[in-house]
């Protein structure tokens, strides 16, 4: 689903955000992406959503090589990727329903289909009763769940999340991660960028760690419980 082949990203000005990153996230797989802020997590996600282009190497998403992707084909690519943002990125001048319906309207779904799918997505994140509510009146956790509903309403094969639990308390964070696991169980490939080590150490998934633009480790979250590893980056991370 996501294939990075020796990918480097150098920004104008010379800062190299990623250098020589290679990994392969298979269809239906779930992985966490972790690392210090500035380590290259965001750049990596931006390359996947084709917000930025790789300076070297190839990024292949769902069989599509983004290096040669024409800009008019970017919208079609992004419809295959559901993105959840730390800042929710909801549109606050319209209702929860309209926010979640947006990807379907963009993709040109029929009105009746839109209503059905939006309700299904809201049901999944536990917000079925809040369709007509304006998002600003919801709590942070609820807003994040609206964002998740919007990301999955189009049933994309790939779900990206950038610090989805950044502003949430531990219990809400666990709920949100639970949702991602549920989507993964029905076959969606999931990549979650986070530095909430406490949370992911309790789960068992693949873990990609980036450090100074390089893929430092590609293992399992379970390995984090090894105290030597925690001392290496986990504990520092939590206090940074």
């Amino acid at each position: 689903m996501i294939k990075f082949d020796n990918v480097s990203k150098r920004y104008p000005g010379g800062h190299e955000a990623l250098s020589g990153v290679s990994f392969h996230l298979k269809a239906g797989e779930m992985a966490f992406l972790t690392g210090h802020s500035g380590a290259g997590k965001s750049s990596l996600l931006k390359l996947i959503a084709c917000i930025e282009r790789a300076s070297r190497g190839n990024v292949v998403i769902d069989g599509q090589n983004l290096t040669r992707l024409k800009s008019r084909h970017i919208p079609a690519l992004r419809r295959k990727i559901g993105v959840v943002f730390q800042s929710h990125n909801l549109l606050y001048d319209r209702t929860v329903f309209d926010n979640v319906a947006l990807p379907l309207i963009i993709a040109g779904y029929h009105q009746s289909e839109v209503g059905r799918r939006v309700r299904a997505a809201l049901d999944k994140v536990g917000l079925l009763g809040k369709e007509r509510v304006m998002p600003i009146t919801l709590s942070g956790g609820e807003q994040q769940r609206v964002g998740i509903a919007r990301a999955v309403v189009n049933r994309p094969p790939l779900l990206l999340a950038d610090e989805p639990t950044g502003n949430l308390d531990p219990e809400l964070s666990r709920e949100i991660m639970g949702l991602f696991e549920q989507f993964n169980q029905v076959g969606v490939s999931v990549l979650v960028a986070t530095h909430d080590h406490d949370l992911i150490s309790r789960l068992d998934h693949r873990l990609l760690t980036v450090k100074q633009g390089k893929l430092e480790r590609d293992g399992r979250t379970a390995e984090m419980r090894d105290s030597s590893l925690r001392g290496n980056d986990g504990s520092v991370e939590r206090f940074s």
Binding site: G28, P75, V186
Partner: protein
Amino acid sequence: MNQTKIKNTDTENRQRAGKPRGRVNAYFTHHLWVLVSSLGSLWRTPLATLMTAAVIGIALALPAGLHVLLQNVQQLSSGWEGTAQMSLFLKSGVSEKRIHSLADTLRGWEGVAEVRYISREQALAEFREQSGFGDALNSLDENPLPAVLVLFPTAEAAAPAQMELLLGKVQDLESVDLAQLDLEWVRRLSGIIEVGKRGVLLLGGLLALAILLVVGNTIRLTILSRRQEIIVTKLIGATNAFIRRPFLYTGFWYGLMGAVLAWLLVAILLGLLSDPVNRLSFLYNSEFSLGGLGLDTVVILLGSGIVLGLLGSWLAVGKHLQAIEPT
């Protein structure tokens, strides 16, 4: 994994089967929805919308109003062109008999509908009656007025160029002292109208440019204020066309509202003018009354408003939407 595959193909099949008609339907539904919702968002800021529409309205009303006034003047003067006539002032020594035979000859000419003879006595009597200089005339020893043949052209020959030709021919006649076309000032007037029409066209062009700038700038501000929304929709996979659409429809509404406002303004202006004009034309014993906006003018007015609104927003959208990309 297997389960997923089955699920995906199942969804795809359903989409493929249900889509073709549905897609087209959904496309038009979406357009309609954007049309209505862009009107709705204009409605929510009535003062700002009204001000923009008013600027467009006034800019359109000015050339439209002038155009209607010119049309009226033209209509008025074309009524006079139909009564074109030529006066042949005869030499004083010509006998009554020769005058009659000359009149008969002229009647036989092509392009001449009728020839009327005004004898010197008749002319004097007429002058006495109309000028109010009767007493002054009494003191003259003899009648100073020449005999006149008034020549009316046929409808086909009433055009200025043909009248000019006819004038040349009668001027060569031996008994004719002076031939005068009573059309001179009508032609001058129509010349002035032509200048006026050109002026209205140029003014209209300048004001159209102003409308483009007003709409373009308004749309530019709207785009900037909705920057975040544009970025989010681009991230979700919206095409440029999708993002452009609401702004284009907003421009459409501005243009249409401005044109309707211009229509109203011109109608009110004409309404205010019609009473004094009617009084004036009554004083001239004329049947003339001020004509309103014709259907064709209204259609052109609305059409140019809409086109200018769309074009203005198109320019703004083309320039500013490219610059907004998610980072």
